[in-house]
Amino acid sequence: MNVVAVCACPTGVAHTYLAKKALENAAAELGFTIKVEAQGALGIENEITPEEVAAADVVILAIEVEIAKRERFKGKPTVTVPVQAAVKNPKTLLKEIEQNLREKHLIK
């Protein structure tokens, strides 16, 4: 599964990056490709390009604040979870999303 994700928490210094790391590690363990953008205190880091969105199967938003540049993800299957969900259960989250997408025949 090909994933793009954005992490954004209010203070933008800790949870955001914990979630990013957790998702990247979990994806690596499951053999998914992932690109995680962080919208932290200083703004957007590791920005996801429109091509990357197009190539992705799903968009994960692990957020507690509204993100900038949301229009990029229009039309893509999007999963919105609290930042904590990504920090605590990244693997379960990714696996459940994959299963869900399979059931909906959105991925093979």
Binding site: L18, V65, T78, A85
Partner: protein, 354 residues
């Protein structure tokens, strides 16, 4: 409800830098004047300007609460609403402050969203976004905030602040308030409960009674004690902690010292009850002492705020007391870790949309 929470958090997120700048500038210029007896006009002017920056906070808050709901078009009316919330137009209405800013931002956001859907012929589309939406939404917000909402929310805000003031001036309940505020921060370590406690602090930040700085001091233990105690406990009783917990212990102490609570999260995930309970008790002790001794602080960010405290020595003592309590509790109650502690929860709360 979830959207309102997200909008609140977005507003908080964008106004934080302003709060840091205003608070720290007031703190530093204050120290220069009061501790080092600097009598320069430049310093005094800078101090005065820092209070001006404080004035930027409510409109920015309103602007970005609105942004979270209505995107860019909602920023102007949100900003205006937030401004009026802090600077009432009518005589005899009191400032509705933070709450007013939140209400203004929400209304601005939803109003703009609704207006975007209004049918306009194609020729007038650009007129719609450049002129009609900003102008109409801003006027609506102006009238709403200056008149009915200004009056209503102002009353509510005054009631809350008077309630908190009453709690703070009565030594018994002030201690309780300090304990509760810090415990809330320690409970979810940078999460929503702690944010609510911080929101209380911001809501009364510029109240002339000085309650804001008292409440601010009272949350320092809640923010610093958890990370410092976990790191300290991991160093003092290595057998009771996992290898990765020992590895990050120095980092936890350092980040805790500058007021970043999240360093405690790994410890809390592995052993939630012991860690969080110890931290809450230690933080509550620190917060209670802080309020009980009536210490105030206008600074932020952990030890950086020490010089800005009304009594730096006791300020440090209160926080240290909290650290000692929490560390001792953890050393006493923690059991040695079992071999495989990386089980995840089985249920995640989410939804898929297109």
């Amino acid at each position: 409800m979830k959207n309102i929470k997200k909008a609140l958090m977005t507003g908080v997120s964008y106004m934080l830098p302003f709060i840091v700048v205003a608070g720290m500038t007031i703190a530093i210029t204050g120290i220069l004047t009061n501790y080092f007896s600097v009598t320069s006009d430049a310093v005094t002017k800078l101090n005065g300007f820092a209070w001006t920056v404080m004035g930027f906070i409510p409109p920015i808050f309103g602007a970005y609460v609105a942004y979270a709901i209505g995107d860019k078009a909602a920023i102007a009316p949100g900003f205006i609403g937030g401004w009026i919330a802090a600077n009432p137009i009518l005589e005899n209405t009191s400032a509705s402050g933070f709450l007013g800013g939140l209400v203004a931002g929400l209304i601005a956001g939803y109003l703009v969203n609704w207006m975007k859907k209004l049918p306009f012929s194609k020729t007038f589309d650009s007129l719609k976004s450049m002129l009609v939406i900003p102008l109409v939404s801003s006027w609506v917000i102006y009238f709403l905030m200056a008149y009915p909402i200004g009056i209503a929310v102002g009353a509510l805000n005054t009631a809350i602040i008077n309630g908190l003031l009453a709690m703070a001036s009565n030594t018994g309940s002030a201690i309780l308030l300090g304990a509760i505020l810090s415990a809330m921060c320690a409970f979810d370590m940078g999460g929503p409960m702690g944010k609510i406690a911080i929101t209380f602090v911001f809501a009364v930040w510029s109240d002339p009674s000085g309650l804001g700085f008292l409440a601010n001091a009272a949350v320092f233990p809640g923010i610093m004690v958890p990370a410092i105690s976990c790191g300290l406990a991991a160093k003092l009783a290595p057998k009771k902690f996992t290898e990765s917990e020992r590895d990050i212990s120095t980092n936890a102490i350092v980040t805790g010292l500058v007021g970043i609570t999240e360093g405690t999260l790994p410890y809390a995930f592995r052993d939630p009850i012991c860690t969080i309970a110890s931290n809450m008790i230690g933080s509550a002790v620190g917060g209670a002492m802080m309020m009980g001794l009536k210490i105030s602080c206008s600074g932020v960010s952990g030890i950086v705020g020490i010089p800005a405290a009304s009594n730096p020595l006791m300020f440090v003592v209160c926080i240290a007391a909290g650290v000692v309590v929490s560390t001792l509790l953890q050393l006493f109650f923690k059991k040695e870790p079992k071999s495989d502690e990386t089980k995840e929860d089985s249920s995640v709360d989410y939804k898929i949309e297109f």
